[in-house]
Amino acid sequence: MPALILATKLYLPPPRPGLVSRPHLVAHLNEGLALGHKLSLISASAGFGKTTLLSEWISLFNHLHPRVAWLSLDETDSDPLRFLGYLIAALQTVQPELGQPVQAALQTPQPPSSESLLTDLLNEIAIYPERLALVLDDYHTLDSPEIDANLAFVLDHLPPQLHLVIASREDPNLPLSRLRARDLLTELRAPDLRFTPAEAADFLNRVMGLDLSAKDVTALEARTEGWIAGLQLAALSMQRQKDTAAFIQSFTGSHHFVLDYLLEEVLQRQPQKVQAFLLHTSILRRLTGSLCEATLDLSPGAGQATLEQLERANLFLVPLDNERRWYRYHHLFGDLLRQRLANPPEFPTFHLRASQWYEENGDLAEAFQHAHAAGDFERAARLSELAWPGMEATFQSVAWLGWVKKLPDTAILSRPLICCQLGRAFSDAGQPEISEAHLKNAERALAAAPNQAVFTPLPGDIALTRAYNAQVRGDIAGTIYHAEQAVRLIPVEDVLRRAQAVIMLEFTHWASGDLEASLRAIQTWMDDMRKLGNPVFEVASAFAKADLLVALGRLREAITTYQQALQRTAESGPEAEQITAHHHLGLALIDHELGQDESAARSLQTAAELGQHTPLVDWPHRWRLAQACLKESAGEWDDALELLDDARRVYVKNPVPITRPVEARQARVYIKQGRLDKAEAWARERGLSLDDEAAYLAEYELLTLARLRLDHPRALDLLERLLALAESQNRMGSVLEILLTQALAYRAQGNHPQTLTALGRALTLAAPQGYLRTFIDEGEQMRLLIVDFRLKIANSTHPLFGYVNKLLETFLPAAEVIAQSNIVNLKSEIFEPLTEREMEVLRLVAQGLSNTEISQWLYLALSTVKGHNRRIFDKLQARNRTEAVARARELGLL
């Protein structure tokens, strides 16, 4: 909404000087405040001086009174979220920081519920140090049960600092009888607001300058029943009459509808030009000089002059700001003026001119209304087309649809652009069938229309919208087909729109497990962005690419991807650097996996620093997930669980598929802690079963389930299914994990040969990439399996020998890893006695000789000594010399 219009809604009308003051009503309102009432309600039909009274009351506030936030409402405010936005804007006229978090939440695509937003707002007000009064003027103009419910909620939870004031022509749908019964309501109604005879006398004689007898005043007061608007019109009429007695006689004697009668009188007595001005400007909801001039084709300055003149003459013109720029007619008067006009022929012209003025002055909403009122539907359609991008961007597609609904089909069907926008609007609203109907209309209109530059983006837009529709319907193949089309049709330079299509492709492929296809889509995108010289997009995509590569088991390539992206960033400057927190984090995690702890720590540090200022909304979530991963590796289970809880709380919905649900990760930690009941509870809640079909997005959870059921034969079947799917999609990262789980399952089921086969496959896969943590984090049970495996291969020329040794060297001391309670703690059955040579070496080791010294002492090559050590350590299940010596002493060898 234009800032100007908003300011007029928040404008606290100052009291009009010289009017009849109403101290007894003001006192009544003050009493209500003092008694701690929640709501002051002024409920009476039009023309009872509600706003004037409130204005007088507020003008008399002293430092003991609350600070006032004013909001003037009208019919367009009936949307609950917009209403809340204005409410906050009103509060901010008192305290600019109040309600900022809620305001921010309102800007997001899917704001939280009204109740939760209101709760947050009320909590903020509850700690505000001053008292506040929130005035809602013309509440009857809203027509929203939801807003009524929201206000009822506010009243139920009203902080003591806040007082609500509502002025309305009808009783609002709030729990008034309850408030009355509990003495929490101040009410002023028509009988209270009527002028008393004394007030009427004061008004007619002093304010309006008439010189009436008491009898005349009584007669008028009786005829109008103290209705202020009626008395005002009567006075205006009599001001220009000589023969007031005759007027009073005919007025009080007639049955005629007071208002109509008096209005007729007042209007007739104005100069012709003023009459025309009043009647013709009644089509405008708000008036300002230049708008009136444009609408009525007046000379410059004439509009403003007339408005000021009318205000001075008290002819029902209400100023909307302090500078006397904007006005509106008092509602009653405006209604009646409009009634009088009964569509004279000049109207469409006036509306058109007003529409043009509003278009030039940036208010497309009003421009549209006037174009529609003028019957110029082509123009209205064009304005809708202009308004669409802005409205869609601010999540107002529903409001936009409200406009367009008013247009006849003839205005729409020939315009490809608006048809396309309608398609998009219905797609946004989750109604793919209606959307498709409009898209077809768009295509027909395009075929019939002459080639215009403005239509070139449309085919791409149509394809993109179809892709979204397919997505809503859960039609993966359709999504991919249309998204690919969109990528083809949208020119490369149109980066933002093309990004939408590419992202859809990327994530649709990803979610269905076709990571290689997703990778191709991203790679094409990155190449395009590089050609376009758009480094930010290129760098941003790198991180999704790296994630995919890691899932595909291509760690080295992932590292290169990150490094190249960082290189590009260094070349491009600070804007690109801001988003690289993710890249450093990604590198840290890979380094962690590869056991390169120092460089992991460095990357982590950089990531943390960049993360503090990054605009990326998913940073807090990812950061906590990464931290949890590190805690798990360190065996700090409780910390890990807490971090995972935090991560879940700060998760922001985004298109990246969730491949490792946080709850499943927590379940794995529970398993490691031996808290199997909690893990079982998770599995039950998720309804997982060993018979479930293999699917990419379910894989992590199913693997977690398998770990809970290692001794179950059907677990092996499940693992086979998962393995087949992962292999068919080349998802080697998954294959590795599945193979490890298979090894554990085979072992739990006592199948030694298969255990080692599965493990061997896993090791073969993992070795070229250098995976470490995946094995180490499995703990003691894995270490023993690997020990067994090494004994089986026993041969330093076996290609896996070096890798296996490296793994064994990296395992944490057994004491620090908590044993799993349901897994039998298998110790290697084989205790091979040390050979004589090995005993020699061991004795020297026990004496503290270094390897070099031992090699000299025994005339052996250094490598031979080291080989002996290795075998000794193995046989003794020791990690190092100290342990070996200790074990040997335990076993009585030394």
């Binding site: 022509r169 005629h256 509808f257 208002l259 209604d335």
Partner: protein
């Protein structure tokens, strides 16, 4: 798919005071007649929403509502 419009109901709305004839267009073409210091608006309402919209107009112009009755189509 087109549906035949449901046949409208006829309403009579009684207001205090005499409302001039020319208000008829403001009230969407309802007929205006007078009876003992009251004005009678009569005519078809397409649906309930239209009726409530009309009553809102009555409210907004400060007219005092005396009665709302459904009548049969025959002219009274």
């Amino acid at each position: 798919m087109t549906q035949l419009p449901a046949s409208p109901r006829y309403y009579e709305i009684r207001l205090e005071g005499r409302l001039p004839e020319r208000w008829s267009s403001w009230f969407d073409g309802l007929s205006i007649s007078w009876q003992a210091g009251e004005t009678l608006l009569r005519g078809p309402m397409a649906d309930q929403a239209a009726l409530y919209g009309l009553l809102k107009k009555v409210r907004d112009t400060g007219l005092i509502l005396v009665a709302v009755n459904q009548i049969c189509t025959k002219q009274e």
